[in-house]
């Protein structure tokens, strides 16, 4: 018999009658029409916050431009570019053909800090940016690259910017500062009454307690630190597989511009439901632009829709389209988005042919064969090996039960990318105590749910977290620590992983899940999953 730990549940000893006034959804408590709709309401306070940060002169340096695109460079983006990485090679496609970068808003500094979108979304890094690349840029420019802009490329803008220690979260974990207004803002800019109070327990960067930038500043702000998500393969990100967002119990919110359902798979905290809103926010905050030109926004979004990025070659496995496999970005770009895996169509079926390779021939590369078989086993394990999923609010609080027995593909169920077809946010435990990896370099917050609000479904009324995640968007206790599921493509090119960079390697992702859910993977099973994820 296994004792189920309840130590992190706060005691709730009141009678049921005492809870009888508790309306479980947001409606009666905080106005669902505004709070649950990702919109632009949060951008204005974030822009004002960004305006406070200095924009020191940046330096241009001579460095290897084969794997780093500098904002403003005239070199066109080819239709196909392949970049070496430690696992093999990644290919980024621009299916619209070569793109003239000169003057293109994605490649042009649009604000005051010298950055462009491409600064943090590099074609060599699967349209994200790896910590390895970040460190290389620091060394090449002595920290003068706009990548390290004080606004969010340092731990906090008030710190001495020439000092590597002031950029430690970026240099060590690949994390940018994300500053969210507190209380949260609804789509129309109005204030959402949060269901919890928030206290800063630990503030190693000094930003959350800083008089200009912190929670007690004239514009109260919460600073959390997150990895940039890839802006490639976006048709999968914006695909609406089902009309409902079952973890929130409602249909997807509608975009006021297009009238269409928004995406549930954008942004770690779900604050932006369309690529347009994301682009506007990024221009006004990360780039410190004074305005977001709508023609530029359109051009950026159109360009993003042409980008596909995936591992194309493995140093052991060879070409990822050989022996019947369907890896790489070319086929990815041709597949329909939003398809649910399952049954005869398991996820990562593109590597299924490697399960039944023809009999070895004389002189065949045995290592290559072994690697391919390992990838196929990893794909099979991902789709079929069940384990008990515990305390993952979002997935274990929507009616399936807690625990629920299922596979990796329970959540990562969209064909080709591992996104969630029925989107929404899940508290995997990467940021919330007690499951988060210890991280004294990150802030720690104490969130206390107010009377009458529904508590976090598994952690109770007091939650300690490194990043409240989706709750910074909705203000709901039930959303504390929920993070939007990410796509799994181009992983080999963009370490570290999870929203807070807590997994330095793909192996650490597997180890986290193994420990989190007591899966009991064998060493071979772990390696199979690592090999699978390294070829995506």
């Amino acid at each position: 018999m296994i004792y189920y730990p309840t130590m992190f549940r706060s005691t709730m000893v009141r009678s049921v009658a005492a809870f009888s006034g508790l309306a479980f959804s947001a409606i009666a408590l905080w106005g669902i029409a505004s709070a649950a709709t990702p919109g632009a309401g949060h951008i204005d306070p974030e822009r004002r916050h960004a305006d406070k940060a200095p924009t020191p002169a940046t330096a241009s340096a001579d460095y290897d431009t084969s794997s780093w695109r500098r904002p403003g460079d005239a070199q066109p983006l080819p239709a196909r570019t392949t970049y070496d990485n430690s696992s093999g090679a990644l290919t980024t496609l621009s299916i619209g053909g070569p793109v003239a970068a000169l003057g293109h808003p994605f490649f042009t500094p649009l604000g005051t800090n010298g950055r462009a979108c491409v600064t943090c979304h590099q074609p060599s890094d699967g349209m994200s940016v790896s910590v390895e690349t970040i460190r290389r840029q620091w060394d090449a420019t002595q920290g003068k690259d706009p990548l390290f802009a004080p606004v969010d490329g340092s731990n906090c803008p008030h710190l001495p910017q020439g000092d590597a220690a002031s950029h430690s979260l970026l240099l060590q974990r690949g994390l940018f500062r994300i500053f969210r207004p507190w209380p949260p803002r609804a789509a129309d800019g109005s204030t959402i009454e949060p269901q919890f109070s928030i206290e800063v327990v630990r503030d190693p960067t000094g930003c959350n307690t800083h008089p200009l930038y912190g929670l007690n500043s004239s514009e109260p702000t919460i600073s959390v630190y997150r990895r940039p998500r890839p802006v490639a393969n976006v048709k999968f990100l914006t695909a609406v597989g089902f009309p409902f967002e079952p973890k929130n119990g409602l249909p997807l919110p509608l975009d006021t511009e297009s009238g269409l359902p928004m995406s549930g798979n954008l942004m770690a905290d779900g604050r932006n439901g369309t690529l347009k809103i994301q682009a506007r926010e990024a221009m006004l905050t990360h780039l410190q632009a004074t305005a977001a030109d709508e023609a530029d926004v359109r051009t950026i979004v159109e360009f993003e829709n042409t980008l596909y990025s995936a591992q194309s070659h493995d140093r052991w496995g060879g070409e990822l389209t050989e022996a019947g496999a369907d890896g790489g970005p070319d086929r990815l770009s041709q597949f329909a988005a939003g398809e649910l895996q399952g049954g005869p169509q398991p996820i990562w079926k593109e590597f299924q042919p490697w399960r039944t390779l023809p009999a070895p021939k004389a002189g065949e590369n045995a290592e290559q064969r072994a690697f391919r078989e390992s990838v196929a086993r990893g794909a099979n394990s991902f789709a079929t090996k069940t384990f008990l999923i515990w305390d993952a609010a979002g997935i274990t609080s929507m009616g399936f039960g807690n625990p629920v027995r299922n596979t990796c593909a329970f959540c990562h169920n969209m064909q080709r990318t591992g996104l969630d077809v029925a989107p929404g946010q899940v508290d995997l435990g990467t940021t919330n105590e007690p499951f988060a990896n210890p991280a004294p370099e990150l802030p720690l917050f104490k969130l206390t749910c107010k009377e009458g609000s529904r508590p976090h479904p598994h952690l109770g009324r007091v939650v300690y977290t490194q990043d409240p995640g989706y709750a910074l968007t909705t203000g709901r206790c039930t959303d504390i620590g929920k993070i939007t599921i990410q796509q799994m493509r181009a992983l080999a090119a963009r370490a570290p992983y999870f929203s807070n960079g807590s997994a330095k390697s793909i192996r650490e992702i597997v180890d986290f899940y193994d420990r989190r859910y007591s899966i009991g993977y064998s060493e071979q099973e772990k390696q199979d999953l690592v090999n699978l994820m390294s070829v995506l």
């Binding site: 018999m1 296994i2 004792y3 189920y4 309840t6 549940r9 005691t11 709730m12 000893v13 009141r14 009678s15 049921v16 009658a17 809870f19 009888s20 006034g21 508790l22 309306a23 479980f24 959804s25 409606i27 009666a28 669902i32 029409a33 609406v240 597989g241 089902f242 009309p243 409902f244 079952p246 119990g249 409602l250 249909p251 997807l252 919110p253 509608l254 359902p261 329909a336 939003g338 398809e339 649910l340 069940t386 008990l388 274990t396 609080s397 929507m398 009616g399 399936f400 039960g401 807690n402 625990p403 629920v404 027995r405 299922n406 596979t407 329970f410 077809v421 029925a422 508590p455 598994h458």
Partner: protein, 264 residues
């Protein structure tokens, strides 16, 4: 349980008809034993594939253990549940306890010690998709054909909840939205009900407030609006559930409901 009245349509219609036939049989069959109690759930890890496993709970009044696996909302280990179900004589072999069917579970805020127990030879229940499931968005929705007439859609809720449940409320609301789009009603009235009169179950007083009824109505209105029904078409009401209302095999559950009335 009826999700829609008076005229059924599509697969939901078939379900409604089945339910009606059962009611006729019930008129001559012995009265079913309905269990209503609060207990602490136990998870039996039968490992019969994904979404398998058995949920068991003991009624401390009679000392018997019941199986509630088929509830549309499964328990959360470590939290008490309100169980409402009909006792059956179905085989206990699968999970090892008396089977309640139909059965409904409401997860309560009160904590209790949760335990996972091994299969102990029980095979568990293999997961199977419900007969009717939400279709992906790439499946074209077909609007119901005329003739149109006034129609009601009923959604039941767990205690103190207005959560719209995956593969249950979602389906009914989408059906209602399609019918509304097709029939162009003069008004859609959404009425939320709550069971406000406190009663004692397993030594605990349970009750809902009118705020819950209001939340049920508003949540459904929000969902319909997101599915393309203008707010201007909708009228919202909320009220105490009538004490004498009962529908289906679980009377108390049937009172915790909301009704979408499409008025032509």
């Amino acid at each position: 349980m009826n999700a829609m009245r008076p005229v059924a349509m599509g697969v939901l219609a078939a379900l409604a008809c089945v339910s009606s036939a059962s009611s006729d049989e019930a008129a001559t069959a012995p009265a079913a034993t309905i269990k209503r109690f609060i207990g602490c759930p136990v998870y039996r890890d039968t490992d019969a594939g994904r979404k398998s496993g058995c949920w068991l709970v003991t009624d401390l009044q009679d000392g018997l253990q019941y199986e509630v696996t088929d509830a549309r909302i499964k328990p959360i280990l470590g939290q008490q549940i309100l169980v409402e179900g009909v006792v059956t004589d179905k085989s206990r072999e699968l999970c090892g306890a008396i089977v309640l069917d139909p059965v409904d579970v409401s997860v309560l805020p009160q904590t209790c010690k949760g335990f996972v127990i091994p299969a102990e030879g029980h095979p568990g229940r293999r997961f199977g998709l419900p007969a009717v499931v939400m279709q992906p968005t790439n499946v074209p929705r077909v609007l119901p054909a005329p003739p149109y007439e006034p129609r009601e859609y009923i959604i039941q809720f767990e205690l103190n909840s207005d959560f719209l449940l995956y593969q249950y409320s979602e389906l009914i609301i989408e059906q209602a939205s399609l019918y509304a789009k097709a029939s162009k009603p003069r008004r859609i009235t959404i009425t939320g009900y709550a069971v406000t009169r406190p009663i004692e179950v397993s030594g605990q007083r349970i009750a809902e407030t009118l705020a819950v009824a209001e939340a049920r109505a508003r949540t459904i209105a929000e969902a319909l609006n997101r599915l393309g029904i203008p707010r201007s078409q909708m009228e919202l009401k909320w009220q105490e559930a009538p004490a004498n209302y009962s529908s289906g095999p679980l009377p108390e559950l049937s009172r915790r409901r909301a009704v979408i009335a499409i008025e032509l």
